[in-house]
Amino acid sequence: MHLSRTRSSSFRLAALGISAALSAGLLAGCSSDSDSSGGDGEKVTVSVGVFGVFGYKQAGLYDEYEKLNPHVTIKESSTERNEDYYPALLNRLSANSGVQDIQAIEVANINELATIQADKFVDLGKASGVEKEDYLPWKWNQATAEGGKVIGLGTDIGPMAICYRKDLFKEAGLPTDRKEVSELWAGDWSKYVDAGETYMKKAPKGTNYMDSAAGLYNGAINSYAKKNYDKNGDVIFKESASVKESWDLAMRAAEGGMTSKLLQFDTGWNQAYANGDFATVACPPWMLGHIKENAGEKSADQWDVAAAPKPGNWGGSFLSVPEAAKNKDEAVKLATWLTAPQQQAKLFQKQASFPSSQTAFDLPEVKDATHEYFGDAPIGTIFSDAAKDIPISILGPKDQLINEKIAEGIRQVENGSSPDDGWNAAVKSIDNALDS
């Protein structure tokens, strides 16, 4: 849904954002105003604030809603980057003014808002038409504040799979069929690294097994329920078993020289796709378009999608309604409608945003979805199978920051530092950032 998930990534895709915004503007110019006056109640304009491209407009969902509810006009305003969007939202929330009727929230920020600003949002869990059972339990849980208040309804999610190159796998003597590849590492990320060792023994010249050790860490850590925080909300990443295991895996990859030492979403990363420099990457559904675009026609029929060793989530968003919104009731109705299974399935079909609604998984738009570029891989089932098994994890407000700093430490090791130095640097950096 949003072209980019991490801070650095959205940065890199600013240009895309601009063009998307421009085209969104064009589309808005084309849409005709509905002038039927047969609606119930007064005419209202519901404002929607998003970051990046959410795709509702592009998928025609706003138009459809306006047709169903002639008294409603929807006005979307988009901020390109979440780094700009989120501080502005915080500011407006604390001032109780200037908020849009619906505000989108990135998964990286949802826990923070649920922790410190829950009273500023409408409880959408109790809104009429919202069925808790529709949503994946872990997604629902991410937006649930202490006391059970639900501050946001899930839009898309990012269940991870592994995208791999069949031609490179074949040359390196690994299986190429997606079932066999999935079984190669099923159940354990360390098996994925084992396969990397096999790959590197017969690696095609100039290629590496994976794009970056930080990408591996991100995949591994997100498959655990307990990561950087414990149940009481204390930061425990230094003692956390999952952090240590994922870190050790990343170290094995980095020191084993099986990574291309790339920074994800950087120009060099994109160029490496085009030149086929690495064989695997942990990929959520939203990355498929990115791979296709950068790897290009030259690599058509080379890429495929296998299940990840253990499912984890990367990215996704929520729609929330602030208490200070002008048209609260209409906003709740619209947010409920936009995140209902049927609409999520439509959005997946048109914009490739993967549904967070498990009810939508059984709809034909999702269930039967295949991706032509990835050898007609049944991405609908691959990703929904992964999504169903993602653990309900303990989140904390600074998860993203901690993960980013650890990734920085991993990149130091990739570029020659010792694992101890890399870890100490990450710890120092995190302590500095968290110290108030």
């Binding site: 940065f11 780094e83 915080l90 950087d266 120009t267 420099d277 990149r411 570029n415």
Partner: protein
């Protein structure tokens, strides 16, 4: 100003002290006091208006700058100073908790701050010194009678007209590790790929070249303008004394340019202290490299305020940067006073 009294006097007061003065300024047939003809009254009004106009218009014309400066310069400056004495989180910017000098004393012990300060300094030197030397040389060349001199003068200024973002993104690609043009060129003479972004020196060098590329032309034109103001007789008489071109440059041009050089040094130093866009876009993250090896003060401020959410600490960094600039300004003032005396 003699007009002050007139403005203060009520216009209808009969026989006041103001009238004679008015008449004194406008010699002509004088009717009895209190019996002004309609034309005269009109003329008096017009002249009053005229005086008011000349008196207040300059302030009016200047006011937009000062109003905007107050709103977008002075107020943020003072507010930042106030915020730097508090614990302020971006989560709730209106909530301030008094912290005294904590933010500043914390900076003193913050190794990331010192690293950023050091980076700012080394990148500043690496970008400013070659930049000004090259600008001086280029200006000297452009000062000769050249065919198409206008073309060259405009050409040196074009980098200045490009946006930081566009220039930096192009440079980031040129300096790419695997597919950058610079490594490709080095490779053709047998030098292995350099990971420009990951080395300390190499990354700072790369960032400096972006700054040099963008600003050399600008300084060149400033030097050129100053060079053209140097009287030609100086060159002629030195030529008569047998001075070579080089000696002329050293003994005539450079001394005459001293105030200009000082000006460009100051402007470049301010620019270097505030360096932000180039390292941000070159590295792609606010940390300025995995080891913060090219994180400048501006970037560290941005990271602390907008990524770590410590607005108070970010304000303290901003004020420290401001104080550094004040010190640089003072040094400038002292040096320029010296220069004036020695002249």
């Amino acid at each position: 100003m003699t007009t002050e009294h007139q403005d203060a006097a009520p216009p209808a007061s009969p026989g006041g002290a103001a009238r004679p003065r008015l008449r004194a300024r406008k010699p002509g047939p004088s009717p009895a006091p209190g019996k002004l003809s309609p034309e005269e009254r009109k003329a008096a009004r017009r002249s009053r208006r005229y005086q008011r106009d000349t008196r207040w218009s300059p302030y009016l014309f200047l006011s937009p700058f000062f109003l905007f400066f107050a709103a977008f310069g002075l107020f943020p400056l003072l507010y930042t100073g106030w915020a730097s004495l508090h614990r302020v989180s971006l989560h709730d910017p209106t909530h301030m908790e008094w912290a005294g000098m904590h933010n500043f004393s914390r900076l003193w012990e913050d190794e990331f701050f010192w690293l950023a300060l050091r980076n700012t300094f080394t990148i500043g030197v690496m970008s400013t010194v070659p930049q000004l030397l090259m600008a001086l040389g280029l200006a000297h060349l452009l000062n000769y009678k050249l065919r198409g001199s206008m073309f060259f003068r405009i050409a040196v200024l074009t980098p200045y007209a490009t946006s930081v973002a566009a220039a930096t993104l192009v440079f980031a690609m040129l300096y790419g590790r695997d597919y950058g043009m610079i490594n490709w060129a080095l490779g053709s003479v047998g030098i292995d790929n350099i990971d420009w972004r990951n080395g300390t020196f190499s990354s700072q060098f790369a960032v400096s070249t972006i700054v040099i590329w963008r600003w050399t032309g600008y300084n060149t034109l400033i030097y050129l303008a100053a060079m053209q103001a140097i009287p030609n007789d100086l060159y002629e008489s030195s030529a008569l004394d047998g001075a070579t071109r080089w000696q002329q440059f050293i003994h005539v041009t450079i001394p005459a340019l001293r105030p200009t050089i000082l000006f460009t040094v100051i402007v470049s130093t301010i620019g270097a202290t505030q360096l932000f866009g180039e390292p941000l876009l070159f590295g792609g993250t606010q940390t300025g490299g995995n080891r913060h090896q090219f994180q400048t003060l501006g970037l560290y401020l941005y990271e602390q305020g907008w990524f770590n959410f410590h607005l108070g600490r970010a304000s303290a960094i901003a004020w420290t940067m401001f104080l550094i600039l004040v010190v640089i300004g003072l040094v400038n003032w002292l040096i320029s006073r010296r220069l004036q005396k020695s002249q």
